[in-house]
Symmetry: C4
Subunit: 237 residues, 4 copies
């Protein structure tokens, strides 16, 4: 089925434009937080009031991204027709993002990177143990490992969804591949991508010289509950 | 008890304004020195001539901070009324800062971060051994570990104060959490936050390939005494 | 034999000028991606429609490079006469670049760095095992080690060519020395230089805490085939 | 003996002014190359045609340095009188720089940092083995360890001079302290400070996963001889 952008309502078209702007802008966070080299990471966000999401075009470098080149896709990962004849192809990870949006209606943003420390844990297929209060706050426990999956069909998307459904964590480390993170919107997913690299790095470094001490499960639960409810400014969470 | 900012004397109000400016500015040092990601660190300073201190608002990113959004608190950690209807909530670590100011009158500035290497030692609950002349200079010995403490009551503040009272170090590594540092003002506390990460990193790296050699206690004492008295420009220390 | 730049056709001279511009610009990627310190890395590119290539001058720092100072060489590594009396000497690695262009006609760009993690593997003379999907994508398998070779004759060039001919990898780690990378043009060779450091770093970090799991050869083959054919925008690869 | 700046010849005063400018500028390289945090590193240079050298003032941050605040000292480390009433005190490492200038007439520049990886080797009192061609080029062999010495008298200076006299290396790692480097001028000493950190880092990382292979002594000799004579542009070395 072909969806044509100009057939959307005015409000939906504005929503698409706003999301393009936001997703383009958020990509700046990936190099700024040293999560990516060259073109190897992408952010997407669901377009409010539509069955669409916006994602990075494939193989384009971060300093060449703008709202204009962002690609709009349907939830099955098909690029929609928008009257731009040379519209770029969406990220090669689009199918994985689309699968998440289709199967996790509460998710509004998805991020994928190959950030170094998170990917290092992924190459050993080893979850990151919850030994930091900031992990308890943000992830509510260990960061889990997803299955090894090849690109090209639903396997990566399924691996992400199945792993995250059994965890409080907004991040999954796909085996030998790298992290995918989710959030209520793209900003939250980017924050999770930043935080998963930070905890991957800190716990890695801690373990290099001995075994870090686990936090008790009851303390993890209490930190997680507090952070999800209390932290930040009223009304922003 | 409610304190209202406009009930302070003119001089006190100027003092509050100057401290807000300074604390906002000092927050720039945290990302510049790679001590923080996202919003996870905060600086506070006691307001001279008052029973108040100024601290970062909760959950606000470093590039959005300005003197205007800094929060003024009483020494029991309560935000004071300042006529700004949408004044933000103070950092979720405010109670810990407040406890330090209440119990260590000589302290004029407090900093908290989750800087990577310092936090890695904290996750193993292992003090950083004094094997560098710059540690002897700045910390006068090992950097100590504080207890594991949950956020929400006085435990973090008490852990900081009890640990620092038994040490020359201006930095304590709170177990599984991260460093807190103190100083005669916020600049000194920021410097201690920068230095504790630097020595945590250098000693970590040194120990990865063998055991660094300790400095004799008498040499530590002599380096510390000299640095505290001689270093820098006359009249600045 | 002396080649004089002004004896080239107008089109060839324009081609030289365009390549100088491009090669000067691409050198910015080396410090930006933290692949070099001081002057220790260089990029070259074959000049289309000629038997020449353009390379960095020796011992010049990256922030002093411009199209003007780039050096034009023949495929035997001799600097050509271009009417600029104080034309700088080409990089001390010019002979190695020249050997590659002479012996691998499909190569249009060469990069050499001493990037830290790649060089660390090179100092142990140990290939980087293919444990990441992005390695399968970009390198099609392990990153190989080349022989130990002294500067001054053909040995480095021969070592590069002999090693790369037996591998899908566009990168070789010359023993105790550092990485050389090739590509269809200088941009592709720079990308390979960025990626080889990234995978060297990620696999190093993964192995610090255990053994990363290899990807099956059939999966490597399928990822490599897909990436070389599908990734990026149509017509850019 | 008091030396007064205005009693120098016009040419000498110009020489002092030019050196101040150059030394102030070179300090920018320390943070740019991540060799220092806060104020912990310094550059000095001998003033041509005088018995003086210029050095950083003590405890001043890098972004506050300018030619104006640089301090002029005699070869015994005494600050000279220059008519500026509030002239700052020279670096607390001035005695060590002065000792080097007094005892090594061929040295025109000295740099001291606490750069992380070099200091990590220094804390274990372990020389950096020559396992990289770029070490053979720049250092002509291992980077040696100097003795443990307290600040306050000649011991640091003597340790530097005695160690460097027995080595080709322009860098010495003072035990538990950090690197000092020398050069024919301050630029060369800064380059050595950058390179010693780079090789300290690369060899450290290489050794984390096994033993890097040493380069044969005859190969080191041949690389060193070539680099000292051939590298760079004619007339710049």
């Amino acid at each position: 089925m072909t969806i044509v952008l100009t057939e959307l309502s005015d409000q939906q078209q504005q929503s698409v434009a706003a999301t393009r702007e936001k997703v383009a802008k958020l990509h700046e966070e990936l190099p700024r937080n040293e999560l990516v080299v060259w073109t190897a990471g992408n952010v997407s966000e669901r377009v409010p009031g539509t069955e669409l999401f916006v994602i990075k075009p494939s193989g384009v470098r971060y300093d060449e991204l703008s709202a204009d080149v962002m690609v709009v896709c349907t939830l099955d990962g098909q690029k929609i027709v928008d009257g731009t004849p040379d519209r770029l192809s969406p990220s090669s990870d689009t199918a994985a993002h689309a699968y998440v949006y289709s199967n996790m209606p509460e998710v509004g943003g998805v991020v994928h990177t190959h950030s170094t420390y998170a990917t290092a844990w992924a190459a050993r297929r080893e979850p990151i143990p919850c030994v930091l209060t900031m992990m308890a706050d943000e992830f509510g426990g260990d960061v889990p490992i997803g299955p090894f999956a090849l690109i090209g069909d639903d396997s990566i998307g399924r691996g992400i969804v199945e792993t995250l459904r059994e965890s409080r964590s907004p991040a999954v480390l796909m085996a030998n591949h790298g992290p995918f993170t989710i959030g209520k919107d793209a900003t939250a997913a980017v924050k999770a991508a930043v935080m998963v690299e930070e905890v991957a790095r800190t716990v890695h470094i801690s373990r290099q010289l001995g075994e870090p001490l686990r936090i008790e499960q009851s303390d993890i639960d209490s930190l997680y509950a507090r952070y999800q409810n209390v932290y930040g400014q009223p009304g922003t969470k």
